[in-house]
């Protein structure tokens, strides 16, 4: 990855974070914390990794992305809008009664959304089904799915991991956003899923542990995922919940509420300053 590519990704990620703030502020609700922790990943996927075409969102050979942690739809929507799947201005209709941008992703309504999700634990199973189907059909696409670290407390996740390994789904890449917080508190206090990577290895996955805010780490991990044959790949990415806005970072209270007007102003000021710095680089 060139320096200018990396710079552009950082600029896009900053804009995705702005989109998250715009959406959750306009909605007066939603989930900014986990959207912000995964903003760099959403950006990398839609601007570097995924073979997708905003002009042809149903292209049969496109790579699939299933947002298993569907509550972080504001992050996915911002990345899709920035990539050109639908107008950026529509982000401000998030969760509104007449909007197609539902609180959790709906595949029938939103261009670029490959699966309706929201109920935790199901997206990874769906992604495994897509990967299996792609093999049956001889479709060269790859399937990516993003889970929260709290989400993996769901038993179905482990059923899906077993399935993916059993059927040697090497076209499947499972990503876990380890921001360490869930609604009721730190994950290791609510119901510890640790050690995560060791469990994935025990389930037969080739695994990478990365910094979820490093594009270099993502590039290396996704390259390794593509090269891995005969078994599925998992990336455990360490992130900061609420990343990018000072008062949201690592605060469990920002899991599921929208910023008020004053908080919106401050968040946008911080992100605008960051954007100016990046563009000046």
């Amino acid at each position: 990855m060139t320096a200018s590519e990396k710079k552009q990704l950082a600029i896009n990620a900053c804009k995705v974070r702005m989109g998250i703030i715009e959406g959750t502020h306009a909605a007066k609700s939603g989930h900014p914390g986990g959207s912000m922790s995964a903003a760099d990943l959403f950006t990398y996927l839609y601007f570097k990794e995924l073979n997708v075409d905003p002009a042809n969102p149903k292209m049969p050979e496109r790579d699939r992305f299933v947002l298993s942690k569907g509550h972080t739809a504001p992050g996915l929507y911002a990345a899709l809008a920035l990539r050109g799947f639908f107008p950026w201005e529509d982000l401000k209709t998030l969760r509104h009664i007449d909007s197609y941008l539902q609180g959790h992703p709906n595949m029938d309504m939103v261009p670029g959304v490959d699966m309706s999700t929201g109920s935790l634990g199901q997206g990874i199973s769906v992604a495994a089904g897509m990967a299996l189907a792609a093999r049956v059909q001889g479709n060269p696409c790859r399937v990516y799915t993003l889970l929260g670290d709290g989400e993996i407390e769901e038993g179905e996740v482990w059923e899906a991991l077993m399935f993916a390994h059993h059927y040697k789904l090497d076209n499947l890449c499972v990503i876990i956003d380890n921001n360490g917080l869930q609604i009721d508190g730190p994950i290791d206090q609510v119901m510890s899923p640790y050690p995560i990577a060791e469990k994935l290895v025990a389930f037969g996955f080739e695994t990478a542990e990365i910094d979820g805010h490093s594009f270099d780490h993502m590039e290396a991990a996704f390259a390794k995922a593509r090269e891995t044959k005969g078994r599925p790949f998992a990336i455990v990415m360490k992130t900061t919940k609420g990343k990018g806005v000072s008062f949201m970072e690592d605060q469990v209270g920002w899991h599921g509420k929208g910023p008020n007007d004053a908080e919106y102003e401050q968040a946008m000021a911080e992100l605008n300053q960051k954007l100016a710095e990046l563009e000046a680089m």
Binding site: P60, R64, V66, N106, M107, D108, D114, M115, S116, G118, S119, G121, Q122, G123, S125, V126, A127, A128, G129, M130, A131, L132, A133, A134, V136, Q137, N139, G155, E156, E159, A160, M162, F163, H166, Y167
Partner: protein, 312 residues
């Protein structure tokens, strides 16, 4: 009584799926460690590369099937009714029903006629659960001929379908050369105007036997086979209510949330005056025993239907 040929509807499903599989390469089958019982094993023997055992993990299986459907495959997912509709209810609701995906859930071993396995496996709630999902087609065949036609109709239909199948062999009675099956259409098997017996699944044969017993007493019962529970053939129900004025519903399912309630709602909302009685499992759990003995004990028999009709 003359010998009647008997075939379990799960067997019919296996045969139909195998036939469909030979014509349609996009059909895949998923099972949860019960392939020999649900009869997807018959498909597996013919098409081993298109049959996927998911192990004892029904929740994952349903969502995997949903994922396969998004890719354009036509998945048939099978387990026992208890685990398909019960264990995996929310996967079916959120990952199949909500996105309206083209998954066919074919669930065997439904109802009290599971027999010796007892209450834990005797699912009498699947109509109620599946009916509650918007857009879900819910069906239950009465015999082998209808079951095979129903599975083929489910394939031809684009959208989520739930088909309830039985473990025990049931009489094959449909022999009309012009027989055809349409989703959402009930059929009048016996004409009559004194009472209408609206039945589904293995209770259809019992209803026809009851009609014979009633005829001996001068009561002319109309027998309606209601194979599609949802969408219900409301026109046929209302016609029966108007013309007969008395209705008895029969299902091998709880009286809560099944065919009986669907019929009651239809008639009540139409404002029709009609005497009505639901025959089904009376909001109780079953227990172990031979299927035939259990059906008799729970009142799921021609004799009991006859008694209920005469008391109405």
């Amino acid at each position: 009584m003359s010998e009647v040929k008997k075939i379990a509807t799960r067997e019919s499903y296996g045969n139909a799926l195998k036939e469909l599989g030979a014509i349609h390469p996009e059909i895949v089958a998923f099972d949860a460690d019960l392939a020999d019982s649900t009869k997807t094993g018959m498909f597996r023997r013919e098409f081993p590369d298109r049959h996927f055992n998911c192990g004892i993990a029904e929740a994952n299986m349903m969502a995997v099937a949903a994922g396969a459907a998004t890719m354009g495959l036509v998945p048939f997912a099978s387990s026992f009714a208890m685990f398909a509709s019960g264990r995996a209810y929310e996967q079916i609701r959120n990952s199949i029903g909500y996105p309206r995906l083209n998954v066919k859930i074919c669930a065997s071993h439904a109802g009290i006629s599971v027999g010796e396995d007892g209450a834990s496996h005797q699912c009498c709630e699947d109509f109620a659960l599946m009916r509650s999902i918007p857009g879900m087609v819910v069906m239950c065949p009465a015999d082998d001929v209808e079951a095979r036609a129903m599975v083929k109709a489910a394939y031809a239909y684009n959208g989520p379908v739930y088909i309830r199948l039985g473990r025990s062999p049931v009489p094959v009675f449909e022999h009309r050369p012009d027989y055809s099956f349409t989703i959402g259409k009930g059929e009048v098997l016996v004409e009559g105007d004194d009472v209408a017996i609206i039945a589904t699944g293995l209770m259809v044969y019992e209803a026809m036997e009851a009609a014979k017993l009633l005829a001996e007493q001068g009561v002319h019962a109309r027998v309606i086979n209601m194979a599609t529970i949802k969408p219900l053939d409301e026109e046929l129900v209302l016609k029966a209510a108007r013309e007969c004025g008395r209705i008895v519903t029969c299902e091998e399912h709880s009286i809560v949330g099944g065919l009986g309630e669907a019929v009651c709602t239809t008639i009540a909302e139409a404002g029709l005056a009609c005497r009505l009685k639901r025959i089904g499992v009376n909001d109780v759990f079953g227990h172990s025993g031979p299927a035939a003995a259990l059906l008799k004990e729970f009142g799921l028999s021609a004799e009991h239907i006859t008694e209920v009709v005469l008391s109405l």
